[in-house]
Point group: C2
Chain length 389, copies 2
């Protein structure tokens, strides 16, 4: 695999890169007790690095969506527990205090299954920790675990990229090298993970291999993660793309302008139902109606092996109506919020929907591609499937 070259983070290399690689969360240079993130709410207008100096900063970053995307939420939670360990780790009830923090962090975003996965993983390490030397602290142990979670996530994205690349290559061959048009919804990109992304990893890997690829970027109301994040990171990486409103994808599919849909997911049931950003289901229906492959890219950590029926069993977060009424943007030289709706308007703001497995052509995981079904998942993850209730 060719090394993915990226211009992401140019001008901020010291802070944001590990070697040649872009990262979305890292320890501050010369002050590793501070964790840094990009305030993604301000993209693409401003590139602002935000310091997390205590665990509450991490909780705020997750709940207010300075960071978003299942893997990055998990990593931020892990780093937040490291910050909690810096504060409480050497106290008498340090372990319990950190566990209380984990419980609080677990409430910040109810739908993201690997928020809990990351918290549980760190808690297991915490429970197993034996501090038998003055040279090691709970904070040291949780720092190592947060780092490991990040490194593993990069490897997961790389695995998704390698496997998904084959889908794009095959379409490129069929099209004799004409650009492969990929539609994506929301941001399941580098900015949602530690690097490479999930839905975008195959795209970045194809682009790095010189395969002509073009991305239709859904705006993704209400938070505009497509227009503000996906378009930004594709531009930073030099990947050709076109922004469209969420309403447009069906029309493009009807007219042969989409070859492949790849989205991310926040949670996949063991039967292959996928919860993802609200509106994903509508794109899956349109892909199905037009015979276009609809793939979902995911780290296996986002598979919820305890449930079958996503429509029945995945709770769907309702978020603040302000997300619908208020839009952040540039007015001349100023950045401001504008309210686009009459003040007395009643608003409903469901954040996710569930796409039934029957509309999902396949799941792209770090272990390979499989059918969106219990059988498909069992072939890639036999142990987890066997252990599932």
């Amino acid at each position: 695999m060719a090394k993915l070259t990226t211009t992401l983070g140019k001008g901020n290399t010291a802070l944001r890169k590990t070697g040649e690689e872009f990262r979305t969360i890292w320890q501050k240079q010369d002050d590793p007790k501070v964790v840094q993130i990009i305030d993604q709410r301000k993209l693409p207008h401003e590139y602002v690095v935000h310091d997390l100096t205590k665990w509450q900063d991490g909780a705020f970053a997750i709940s207010e969506m300075l960071v978003r995307g299942a893997p990055l939420i998990g990593a931020t939670a892990a780093w937040s527990l490291y910050l909690a360990a810096l504060e409480y780790g050497a106290t008498e009830n340090g372990t319990n205090a950190i566990k209380d923090v984990a419980a609080t962090l677990g409430e910040t975003r109810p739908t993201a299954v690997n928020l809990r996965w990351a918290l549980d993983r760190v808690i297991r390490v915490l429970d197993a920790a034996t501090i038998d030397s003055a040279d090691i602290s709970l904070a040291d142990i949780l720092e190592a675990e947060a780092k490991a979670i990040c490194e593993e996530d990069v490897e997961i994205s790389r695995g998704i990229g390698i496997h998904g690349l084959e889908l794009i290559k095959e379409i490129s061959r069929r099209k004799h090298g004409q650009p492969v048009n990929v539609l994506t919804h929301c941001n399941a990109g580098s900015l949602a993970t530690i690097n490479y992304g999930t839905a975008t990893a195959p795209i970045y890997f194809a682009h790095a291999e010189g395969i002509a690829v073009h991305v239709w970027v859904d705006e993704t109301r209400p938070r505009n993660q497509g227009s503000q994040l996906t378009a930004w990171e594709l531009a930073e990486n030099g990947v050709p793309h076109t922004l469209i409103v969420d309403n447009a994808g069906g029309h493009l599919m009807q007219h042969g302008m989409v070859d492949l849909v790849i989205t991310g997911t926040d949670r996949t049931t063991r039967s292959g139902d996928v919860a993802n950003k609200i509106g994903t289901y509508l794109k899956a229906l349109a892909a199905h109606d037009n015979g276009i492959p609809f793939y979902v890219a995911l780290p296996s950590t986002t598979i919820d092996w305890t449930i079958d029926d996503g429509l029945r069993d995945i709770p769907i977060e309702e978020r603040n109506p302000d997300e619908v009424t208020t839009i952040y943007g540039r007015s001349g030289e100023d950045l401001c919020f504008v309210n686009t709706v009459a003040s007395n308007t009643n608003i409903s703001n469901f954040a996710f929907d569930v796409t039934p497995a029957k509309y999902v052509t396949g799941l792209i995981t770090e272990k390979g591609i499989c059918d969106a079904s219990r059988n498909g998942l069992s072939t890639l993850f036999p142990d987890a499937a066997a252990n599932a209730i």
Copy 2:
């Protein structure tokens, strides 16, 4: 039929009402040579009446979408020809000059079939006009025709309302009076017509009859006609409603929160394919997937009897990318535009899509409700169907 009571236009009754009725286009009180409209681009933030004093003002109002909606576009074109007649009607080549104006007006919005219908109708009247008295002018004749087009449109909306009301009544009976949840996309409301609307007419008539009804209002990106126009006029009429992003409708339908979808259409083929605001097709797919009736309300003037295959034969207008990047709203006390997208972003902005007839449960017309098929349309419009090629 109970008289529809409306609070629309309160505080502006002198300008905007004919008797008790709200209108979207009218002659200025005390100066009938000026035609007035509401600048719908400024709703819901400001209620601004805009003067049309020459035909070019009408062309501008149509192309820049101060007015929109097929019936209102047609009426505005007819009134624009009246303004042209005031200017050119008494000149030597008056008739030809007015026809040139009609040709120009015909180019302002390529998808709206009853723009052409209204222009053709006025031109036929113009061709038949014999000015044999100093007491009558071309302008008088075209004024009468524009008025007639408006009065007939109100009667058409009333007919749609009366027939569509039965669908809502039936669902209300099945739900034992619990609110009937209707989802609509874009604005096919009073503001799109002369009064009552098309998709909204059944809702207003149900509300006037005391039937509990609640409307899910799609935001309708990129121009936000739902959040800015439909929500505004439903609020003015006291109809309970909730604003949602365009992405949300599928989720609501999956969870039994939608009983009925009613949209408008800009153009319906003789086989029942419907062109409407981009994104309508996605809602039709979701309704179909969840067994929810999907109706399209239309004046029969928007049926295009010359074509069968909407996907192949209806040209889809691409509009200015600024519609996607730029949003109008209130920032504190000020109204301003903000740009929400990085400046170098490539954008595609198709304005309409086509919903194939197989996903349309029925068409609600002024003559009754029929299947979305050539057979269905033939039962209601036998003469037009027989004359169709």
